[in-house]
Symmetry: C2
């Protein structure tokens, strides 16, 4: 048994080493690569993806997994699941999808900049076709094509589950937003730019260092769409952006930090194994949303960190204090851009995307009609008009990168963040006071113990039960949303 | 024939795609990776190197090469040479050498910073052992182990050839340096720092843009040791460093630009083939040295570019004009650091390293005695005392990265640069006037036509004959060195 387990580890480590390279190629593509290097990068990504797939589906790997079938080692269980999934997908499809994702992201960046949906349309079509081909590989074990896509991000979850969970959100949130907007007693205070990019850069660096970012194992870069990439153990990278018209960097950088901290705190004994990753995207997103909404989106943090932000913004925050600042950045009101949305209207942005990607995949919505459907959806769900596609269907990178089925995890993660926060608040003494004092260690350690250290060794449901004592539950989020709709500065 | 050639191209393209990833992993390791990520990076590099070697030695590749044996396509010739060399080396040795190089560089960075040769010693020993193992793979076709190492950088050159070429340098250069030092009529003007790093950053960016660097296909980063990496077609990256005590960045960044321009101007039709690289390191170094010594090291360039440099250095150049500046940065005098050396004493730094690496490999010099041997050599060749190992045996990264046999190409490249410059001066009308005017296109185009575009499709000797009408010849360099020793501002 021991030799076979050690042989399995060797094979899995090689897979992780290849993924390390792929992650760096992608990170660099979005943060540093000159435009003229795109073609060669796409080819390199496609070749590495094909080689990775060969290794993930090597007969020797299945031989070892079969021999270890009796093992209760979580490594064997997770490796079996990954290998069984990989084996269903032809290598050429993997390579082609990787190529399409790289091309798509490049086209998306330009299309978004120039508000040119037509230029993006062929890439969208190609990615939808590839998503269908991918889903077809799992035809015998899914109820509808979207199930196969969702399962890559949220193992074991079905489209029907998402429909059920999103029901109460569809039902209750539009009313809460309307109430907040009509509430005369809480006119949201304004944050008026421009917010100088250089000042934001300095401030964000200092703020990140306050929560746990350090030079020895973290890097901060810039990209068109903020993201987090853990290249390998000890190499955690965040990206953000510093638009001068909207002050989004304080929240979005803490969001990405939440993702990064999750990976950074996984048990180092899992390094170079498939256990050294987040358990699912819902769990991942619960971590990013917890830091964004419940740490950086609340007053205690800014009472302590105000001097790290305020002096760097050329007096733009002069009329504000931590209370009014938090009320402003979290003010409940319909907005066009998902990543700038307040935490009450945010899930409706996700509901819109879920509806649209289901319709795109079922064929009910033709890709060319996406911008119009987006406008209709925003009108119906959030009651606002979308002026152009940059602020509409072109705002997110996901579909450009072929990531259908990803969006629901954002809303599920937001709900789980509220549930975790409720538990943490009950278990960590004086949590708000510690956050105000810049002592984030108790929160980091609580998260490490309950969630992070386990990596993929526990299933998402086990993790949630272990951390909060119950299943994923919409109640804490809805309670938070109701309170926030009526008292923006809470 | 056509199908087999196209199959060959597919296989070779895959090899290039893997090398693309390896180059990025290495570039990132030296420019961005946080220290804690080193272990995972080393493993990823080792795995990719092993996979690359598998592909380079696949039986199917040899089948295709055998079938194409009659072809006079330079691609087939170069691919055959690469494959024959790769087949002699076991994959495990390649992987181990990659791992040792990554570990060695990491250890070297720390050892150099802390002037701690003892901490570096085990890595040096490991790399020497690996170099022996590597050379042993070629035992039947070499005269001495160093031949096998040299051949990787300078195809077809033998250790004996280097000894012969270095003879006149050993003989004549020490005298020229002594004459320059004793020449009362040319006291070298002083450049006195500190030279603010931020100002250097701004100046170097502007200076590089003057010679042909542009954002669409170039990147500039910082690293402990300046280098150039072409990740893939259209993705050219330079690194430099900005020490405040020595103003080395104006020359060293133009040096790296010369390397980058070479790769950038290779015929794009060769992309994703083994022809899309420099023909040898001597040819490569001739390009970097040409831009460093004959463009950035001479007065015409600075007459035009003075305002890009002078205003950024906090008045440190106030007492200078382009003439005195050039005299100062190129002043012939013995110095401790190779990359800061003037072009007359520079080859002696190389002679020292060549002697030492030969002695390390033959066993005549024990690794632990390297610092002492370095001091003795510097005294004998350049007449100066080495105060510590940071300024001695720890100054270069090459041995840390396992690159034995690389150094001679620096001196050979310097000689070839002089020969090319002599030819270019005769063929490009008003070259100095154009350089002063910031019109570098004629020089870039001349180099593209004579050297760059050919990539590896011509052998180094063919390239040299094609560009200059004769074999590599020490005379132009020695003529230049004699003139420079007696008239530093020439």
């Amino acid at each position: 048994m021991d030799t076979r387990l050690s042989d399995l580890r060797t094979r899995l480590a090689e897979v992780e080493d290849l993924q390390h390279a792929l992650r760096l190629l992608q990170f660099d593509q979005q943060t540093a690569m000159p435009a003229a290097g795109a073609e060669a990068r796409t080819e390199s990504l496609a070749t590495l993806a094909r080689i990775l797939h060969e290794r993930q589906t090597a007969p020797e790997l299945f031989g070892l997994l079969d021999a270890l079938a009796g093992s209760d080692d979580p490594l064997v269980r997770v490796a079996r699941r990954d290998a069984d999934k990989a084996r269903r997908v032809p290598g050429e499809l993997v390579s082609e999808a990787t190529r399409a994702a790289a091309d798509g992201q490049r086209a998306w960046e330009r299309a978004r900049e120039e508000d040119d949906f037509a230029a993006f349309l062929p890439h969208l079509r190609r990615n939808i076709d590839l998503a269908h081909e991918y889903a077809a590989c799992f035809a015998d074990e899914i109820d509808e094509p979207y199930d196969a896509l969702l399962d890559d991000y949220e193992p074991g979850m079905r489209t029907a589950d998402v429909r059920t969970v999103f029901g109460p959100l569809r039902e209750e949130l539009p009313g809460l937003i309307a109430e907040a907007a009509e509430s005369e007693s809480h006119p949201p205070p304004e944050l008026v730019g421009p917010f100088p990019a250089d000042g934001q850069r300095r401030a964000i660096r200092a703020i990140l260092e306050r929560v746990g970012f350090d030079e020895s194992s973290w890097r901060l870069a810039e990209s068109a769409h903020p993201f987090c990439a853990t290249i390998g153990a000890g190499d955690n990278r965040l990206t953000t952006r510093y638009p001068e018209d909207v002050l989004e960097s304080p929240l979005s950088s803490l969001h990405e930090f939440g993702h990064g901290l999750y990976e950074a705190q996984i048990d180092p004994a899992y390094a170079r194994t498939p256990l050294h990753h987040g358990a699912s995207l819902t769990i991942h997103e619960s971590q990013s949303r917890l830091w964004e909404v419940f740490v950086a989106g609340r007053e205690p943090f800014w009472r302590g960190a105000w001097e790290l932000l305020h002096p760097h913004l050329d007096g733009r925050l002069d009329g504000h204090d931590p209370r009014s600042f938090v009320a402003a950045i979290g003010a409940v009101r319909p907005t066009l851009i998902r990543v700038d949305a307040d935490p009450v209207s945010y899930p409706l942005h996700i509901v819109l995307r879920f509806d649209l990607e289901l319709a795109l995949l079922s064929g009910d919505l033709a890709p060319r009609d996406l911008p119009a459907a987006w406008r209709d959806g925003m009108r119906a769900l959030l009651g606002i008009e979308v002026p152009d596609d940059r602020h509409g269907a072109l705002q997110d990178v996901h579909w450009a990168a072929g990531a259908f089925g990803y969006f629901p995890t954002y809303a599920l993660g937001t709900m789980l963040a509220a549930q975790l926060w409720e538990t943490a608040t009950g278990e960590i003494p004086d949590l708000d006071a510690r956050i105000e004092a810049g002592d984030l260690a108790p929160l980091r350690e609580w998260l490490r113990d309950r969630i992070h250290r386990h990596g993929r060794s526990l299933e998402p449901r086990e993790l949630i039960r272990g951390a909060t004592g119950r299943e994923l539950d919409a109640a804490p989020y809805l309670a938070f949303a109701r309170a926030r709709a009526h008292a923006p500065a809470a």
